[in-house]
């Protein structure tokens, strides 16, 4: 007898399975109800002689109302329950561990902030929320860990963010769930959920490269971002110190939260999110910086969040919480 459920290894898994079991019960009830009625009616009212005529049954408005209202009520319950689980999935908690994911045909590259890099393998501690910031170098991929009941498309041209919290140590499948080309079914890997002590040992064991933020700092110089976004007074671009997580007043009158997606947009399509009070002179870096480079720059600018804002800082209003996720239109 094959198993019916994958391992329950995340804080979502129990909720999703409970929802699933409820829906299985509803499905089983109505399938059996209809199936039984159909079979019983077919047998009980089987035509005994070729000329047998049916008995007249008057239509019933009441019956029509009953079998409209009951399913209606039931689907509202399903909707509300399903939506509440979905909300949980879409709100990463404040203390989440950041992991940066780059997807490309046909591999997953997973980077920890301390510089650990992994290919098709991800090590995470148990009991700690993990927040994924994901980018694709080519086509749409989808990060799927069945044991976590969790999946998120990685769409090129934007960051996709998602989170999970593993609850059970073990080794779990990582799949690409969105068809991405010839070797789609090879774009698989493993997620290792480790006890805190084991995780610390793993962190200590590997030889981390430079941290993501440090790599980002190098790129910042390499692409000469510092010529305009240095902290000198009268600089042509806004200072980035203390920017991340703050509200930014844009030239077009909108106010946006300076999150990962905002930083990305500012690099690849600067005119769309021009900060109020600055000239539209920044060139686009679309196609000049890889997705991985963008993730590094974001990590670097994020690391400046706690640096003191300089001179004509961009921040206009205090942000509520840095972790609030903006919802893409």
């Amino acid at each position: 007898m094959p198993q019916l459920f994958p391992p329950e290894a995340s804080s979502f898994a129990g909720h999703v399975d409970a929802l699933y079991i409820f829906l299985i019960l509803v499905t089983a009830f109505f399938s059996l109800l209809i199936g039984t009625l159909v079979v019983v009616f077919a047998i009980k009212f089987h035509r005994k002689s070729p000329d047998e005529v049916a008995t007249e049954v008057h239509e019933s408005g009441l019956l029509e109302i009953v079998w409209t209202v009951i399913p209606f009520g039931l689907v509202l319950v399903m909707f509300a329950w399903g939506a509440s689980v979905y909300f949980r999935l879409s709100r990463p908690p404040a203390n989440a561990l950041d992991i940066y994911v780059t997807a490309k045909q046909w591999m997953w590259k997973l980077q920890h902030t301390d510089g650990h890099r992994e290919m098709n393998e991800l090590h995470v501690p148990v009991g700690v929320p993990v927040r994924l910031t994901m980018a694709s170098e080519d086509v749409i991929h989808s990060f799927y860990v069945p044991a976590f009941r969790f999946k998120r498309d990685v769409v090129p041209g934007r960051f996709s963010t998602a989170w999970f919290e593993a609850t059970k140590p073990g080794k779990y499948h990582l799949f690409c769930a969105e068809f991405c080309g010839t070797r789609h079914s090879n774009m698989i890997g493993w997620v290792y959920v480790m006890k805190p002590a084991d995780y610390q040992a793993w962190l200590a064991g590997g030889v981390p490269g430079e941290t993501l933020a440090a790599a980002g700092a190098k790129r910042f110089i390499e692409h000469q971002c510092n010529t305009c976004h240095g902290d000198q007074p009268g600089a042509r671009g806004p200072s980035l110190n203390g920017l991340f997580g703050k509200q930014v007043q844009l030239a077009n009158g909108r106010t946006v939260l300076a999150d990962e997606s905002y930083i990305r947009e500012s690099i690849v399509n600067p005119q769309a999110v021009l900060t109020a009070g600055y000239q539209p002179i920044m060139p686009t870096f679309q196609g000049l910086i890889s997705e991985e480079g963008l993730l590094q720059l974001v990590a670097y600018i994020k690391s400046l969040a706690s640096a003191p804002p300089a001179g004509a800082a961009a921040s206009a209003a205090p942000a509520p919480t840095p972790e609030r996720k903006t919802i893409r239109p």
Partner: protein, 542 residues
């Protein structure tokens, strides 16, 4: 059952009115065009079915050992493209809709007979173009053509395939248009809307979707082709385009298209249940109205394909609740069909076996659809075999069961011959068993996490895949049996009576097979449909 009323060989009917290939290829008779569609969709079904067999063969073992990955991807694309665009969508409307709508409403033909023939040519040319592309050139995008894979990265003949689908889209639009106009303008005296057979109501609702939805897929595929050739950048993020925009456009048609496939099936079931219960259908108005409600709601649910693509949470909520709403008219139909059996005079003829199979499988498939409308659950099962199982319950367990049921029910009218009762019952059971063995395990393997479109898969999923492949083998046999006996019966079958089932409906008032002009004199309808209790037959007064 009954004895033939006349010696058919002496009578001129639409089949023997003229002979020769030209008389068929240039015909404007809706009944002959229906036969042309029957040949066409059977051909494309065979191709799609062969591809399905190859898929199941590959998935028998976890390793990708039968085909190379590239070839496997081309095979499942062939399966999807052929089955969806050239079997499911044109299927019941092309064959049964064409044959029956004029007969059911007492008309001599559809409103635009030449346009009808053009529809078939567009379908055939589109289908053959796409077939040539997927077989000769190879396409590995899946039938969904997601960007930017299809526009930038995929090798193969994406453009030619898109052109094939584009061409056949016009067939779909023209067929829908033809049916709507026919139903509005060609009804016999006395055939009021509330006397219209439910099959016609279902085809009417289908026509609405065909006309309103199909242009969107046509434009979308044209954009994909233009993007591949001219690098427009509409969907390419590297040029500031949005790949998810494609998904919105694609599903704006392709979700309603699901109802282009299932509404005609429901339309057939409404006829079968009442004919074999010899009882007026329960809740006529509710079934008719629910078809139209499904057609309208079908345009408002496309976003449920994008719950994990980064669509806003609030859009997700709206699409989730609207998707649940589609379940209500579907449930109304199921309850009314079931109630129709109550106190009926139920005869276990093959068409009823298919109808009962449909009710069970559609109910189950529809309920699993609720799981996919449930936001939190869809995140897990999206893009897994759970989805594959769900839509095959609707498409194969639903539409194909209904199509076969309808084909058996109207076969005496279409061919003038009876099919062999014994073998037809055997094949109905073989199909039912084979179908469930094929697709039920896919729900389980999907929930376990097996993604769809995987050429190779982890070993723990093998047992369920072996079951699925075993079921598919049985299902394949189940489909071959009717093919054999239908062809056999055309030559060797017993002659059918005009009304072998004792059914109501104008199509049974005319000889089997009908003469080219359908009715010698225009019938006049004086009573309600499915009037099995006060008199066996509707009056046809000339």
């Amino acid at each position: 059952m009954s004895t033939p009323t006349a010696t058919p060989s002496q009578r001129v009917d639409y089949l023997n009115a003229s002979y020769g290939v030209k008389s068929w290829l240039l015909t404007t008779d809706h009944k002959r065009i229906a036969i042309l569609y029957l040949i066409g969709i059977t051909f494309f079904f065979a191709i799609g079915g062969l591809a399905a067999a190859l898929i199941r063969l590959e998935l028998l073992t976890p390793a990708g050992d039968v085909f190379q990955a590239e070839m496997y991807n081309r095979i499942f694309t062939t399966h999807g493209v052929m089955m969806v665009f050239f079997f499911m969508i044109p299927g019941i409307p092309g064959v049964l809709g064409n044959f029956l709508i004029p007969l059911m409403i007492g008309a001599k033909d559809v409103a635009f007979p030449r346009l009808n023939l053009l529809s078939w040519y567009l379908f055939a040319i589109g289908g053959l173009t796409a077939l040539w592309a997927v077989v000769h050139g190879g396409v590995d995008t899946g039938w969904t053509f997601y960007t930017p894979y299809s526009t930038v990265y995929a090798n193969g003949w994406v453009v030619v395939t898109a052109v094939g689908i584009f061409i056949s889209g016009f067939s779909s639009i023209l067929t829908g248009l033809n049916f709507l106009v026919t139903l509005h303008t060609m009804r016999a005296p006395g055939m009021t809307w509330m006397r219209l057979p439910l099959f016609c109501w279902g085809m009417y609702a289908t026509g609405i979707i065909q006309i309103l939805g199909t242009p969107v897929i046509a434009i979308t595929l044209l954009l994909v082709a233009a993007e591949r050739i001219f690098h427009l950048g509409v969907f390419d993020p590297a040029q500031g385009g949005d790949p998810v925009l494609f998904q919105h456009l694609f599903w704006f048609y392709s979700h309603p298209a699901v109802y282009i496939m299932i509404l005609p099936a429901m339309a057939v079931i409404s006829e079968l249940v009442t004919a074999f219960s010899r009882k007026p259908i329960f809740g006529y108005k509710f079934i008719a109205a629910s078809s139209v409600a499904i057609a309208v709601l079908s345009f408002l649910v496309w976003g449920h394909h994008m719950f994990v693509s980064g669509q806003s949470v609030y859009a997700g909520l709206v699409f989730s609740i609207l998707s649940f709403m589609v379940a209500i008219p579907s449930a109304i139909k199921v309850f009314n069909w079931t109630a129709t059996l109550y106190k009926g005079s139920v005869s276990y003829q093959t068409p009823l076996l298919y109808a009962l199979g449909f009710i069970g499988l559609f109910t189950f498939g529809g309920l699993t659809g609720l799981m996919l409308a449930t936001l939190g659950l869809d995140v897990h099962v999206h893009d897994t075999y759970f989805i594959v199982a769900h839509f095959h319950y609707i498409m194969v367990g639903g539409t194909i069961m209904a199509y076969l049921g309808g084909l058996h029910y109207w076969w005496p009218k279409i061919s003038g011959k009876l099919y062999p009762e014994y073998w037809s019952r055997v094949s109905a059971w073989v199909i039912f068993i084979g179908f469930n063995l094929t697709f039920f395990p896919q729900f389980i393997v999907g929930y376990l996490g097996m993604p769809r479109r995987y050429h190779a898969y982890p070993e723990e999923f093998q047992v369920l895949n072996v079951m699925s492949t075993a079921g598919a083998s049985i299902l394949g046999i189940g489909y071959v049996i009717p093919l054999i006996y239908f062809v056999y019966s055309m030559r060797y079958g017993k002659d059918a009576a005009d009304n072998p089932w004792g059914a109501t409906g104008l199509e049974w008032q005319t000889p089997s097979p009908p003469p080219t002009e359908n009715f010698p004199d225009t019938p006049v309808v004086t009573g309600r449909p499915y009037d099995y209790l006060t008199g066996r037959e509707e009056e046809a007064v000339g």
